[in-house]
């Protein structure tokens, strides 16, 4: 696993994430949010889970980002009244990061290099989805249908 690629993708993802969290204009933040997910998908490719990377680009960048952009357009606000940025949130996030970092660095035997792995093919994922994970698959299907119907009901205009 190449370390140059790792560092480039890491810098790109974290920079896009920071931009998404702190940019004052909402549309710029939404577009940087899409970039962050492209970076995370690149991480998945680096780690050898190509199918998950493709699903990530498809679902997040192709669907969730478009949803967020549509919602931003449908809820226009005049003159950006609140560009407020509460600094208490930043302190809490820093404290949490410090705690997680301490936990990671304290755990022994995490510094090993990556073992050689055969790539997980789509056929294996499909077979496992149909045998071991068939119940979660059906439940996710029901959940997605319920979410679809629920979102539609929430947004439908009331008939007068």
């Amino acid at each position: 696993m190449s370390s140059l690629g790792f560092f480039l993708i890491a810098i790109f993802t974290l920079a896009a994430g920071l931009a998404a969290a702190t940019m004052p204009k909402l549309i710029h933040a939404a577009l940087c949010f899409a970039l962050t997910f492209v970076g995370v998908a690149a991480f998945y490719f680096l780690l050898g889970a190509e199918f998950v990377g493709l699903v990530q680009v498809f679902v997040y960048v192709g669907a969730v980002a478009v949803l967020i952009v549509f919602t931003i357009l449908l809820t226009p606000r005049d003159a950006e009244k609140d560009r407020s940025f509460k600094w208490s949130g930043a302190w809490i996030a820093l404290v949490v990061f410090g705690g997680l970092l301490w936990a990671i660095l304290k755990t022994p035997r995490l510094g090993t290099a990556a073992p050689v792995i055969s790539a997980l093919s789509v056929r294996q994922i499909g077979k496992i989805l149909m045998t071991d994970y068939v119940w979660p698959l059906q439940c996710v299907g029901v959940l997605l249908t319920a979410a679809l119907i629920g979102a539609l009901v929430l947004v439908m205009e009331e008939k007068r």
Binding site: I27, H28, L31, A34, F51, L54, G62, A63, V66, V122
Partner: protein, 380 residues
């Protein structure tokens, strides 16, 4: 072919072969784009009973050169209150995603530029980022018509992404793999030496091919579904504020998207690079691929010259009320065909499934609009 570089480390060889792939792909498809842009104007002109461009070069075939020079020397106007970065990046992203999508299509025997295990999923993942770029183009122009055009375009593209995907599902199910190479290889047999086993010759395959083709028409914003760029309605939709070279890049992105969808249709339904008859296998495989691709592009242009534009609500109705249930019926029919063996009984059953669903849909899904009998008034 790269054995001359045998002494260098592996990654140099990989980069060199990738570069050769990329350059070949770009050269072939950019020249095809230039050719198709002038051929489209000539074919449209012949349909409309006039000649097309015929002044530049023999039969007007050097017209793209003139167009390119014109686009390059035009002034690049950016609206003063536009969002500079977003306005600049939008055409680049549209063209980039179209070119990326061209990379996984098998053009001939052993001629796939990049083999990815989930090739079809890669194509659709890249295609779904096109919507975001269209929105960036519309919003970055700071123009009400642009935003309106972009919203219509995104609504249309998102609605038709579902039939596009679901019509590909029967093929993936029958072949058992997401790799375009495996899908092409599964269509390689011939019955009795003359009937190829292309998926378009099965009942579910024919219906799925028509649905995929129509969805491809919509995804590339071509007539009759070119509401987003309807010139008589909203100027040029999300491309209104672009001039000069950026407009040319939009144009190129649209055409390359058309090529990508046609290429995928050839791969999935029309047997890829296989010849129609076993005897003709001596002709190189990429010739067959480009022949089939040209037929599909000609049908794109033919439909553009023939049909009028649809209304936005008609487009949405069509997608959600007709194409989606029909696509699900295709999956059912493909499953029936696959499990009855690939024999005649399977054909009959799947044909029955498809025809029954089509008749039900066309009878019972009405749009509720009744039209009065047509009356004529003549000028006195």
């Amino acid at each position: 072919m790269l054995s001359g570089l045998a002494g260098v480390p592996v990654w140099v060889g990989q980069i060199a072969s990738s570069l050769i792939n990329i350059i070949a792909l770009l050269v072939v498809f950019l020249s095809l784009f230039a050719l198709v842009s002038v051929l489209e104007r000539k074919i449209l002109a012949r349909i409309q009973n006039r000649l097309g461009p015929n002044r530049v070069g023999p039969f007007g075939l050097l017209q793209p050169v003139a167009d390119g020079i014109k686009m390059l020397i035009k002034e690049d106007i950016v609206p003063a209150r536009a969002d500079k970065v977003v306005h600049f990046l939008a055409p680049i992203l549209i063209a980039a995603t179209a070119i990326l999508a061209l990379g996984i299509i098998p053009y001939g025997r052993n001629m796939t530029p990049f083999t990815i295990d989930g090739g079809i999923l890669f194509f659709f993942a890249i295609g779904s980022t096109t919507e975001l770029s269209v929105f960036m183009a519309g919003w970055g122009s700071n123009n009400k018509f642009s935003i309106l055009g972009a919203m219509r375009a995104i609504a249309q593209m998102v609605s038709y992404e579902l039939p596009l995907l679901i019509t590909v599902l029967p093929i993936v199910m029958v072949v058992g793999s997401l790799t375009p190479d495996a899908i092409v290889a599964a269509q390689g047999n011939y019955s009795l030496g003359i009937l190829p086993h292309w998926f378009v010759f099965t009942p579910w395959g024919a219906v799925a091919f028509i649905l995929f083709f129509v969805s491809g028409l919509v995804e590339s914003n071509r007539t009759p579904f070119d509401v987003p760029e309807g010139e008589s309605e909203i100027v040029a939709g999300h491309m209104t504020e672009y001039s000069g070279f950026k407009y040319a890049i939009f144009f190129m992105g649209e055409y390359l998207g058309m090529f990508a969808v046609s290429g995928l249709a050839v791969t999935l339904f029309l047997g890829g690079w296989h010849a129609p008859v076993r005897i003709l296998e001596v002709v190189p495989s990429y010739v067959w691929f480009f022949l089939k691709l040209s037929v599909l592009i000609f049908v794109f242009i033919w439909v553009r010259g023939t049909l009028p534009r649809t209304r936005v609500d008609q487009v949405m109705n069509f997608a959600w009320k007709f194409m989606l249930p029909m696509a699900f019926a295709c999956i059912l029919a493909a499953a029936v065909w696959h499990y009855a063996g690939h024999h005649l009984i399977g054909w009959l059953y799947s044909l029955v499934v498809v025809v029954v669903v089509y008749l039900m849909l066309s009878r019972f899904i009405g749009t509720g609009k009744k039209f009065a009998p047509r009356t004529y008034r003549f000028a006195e």
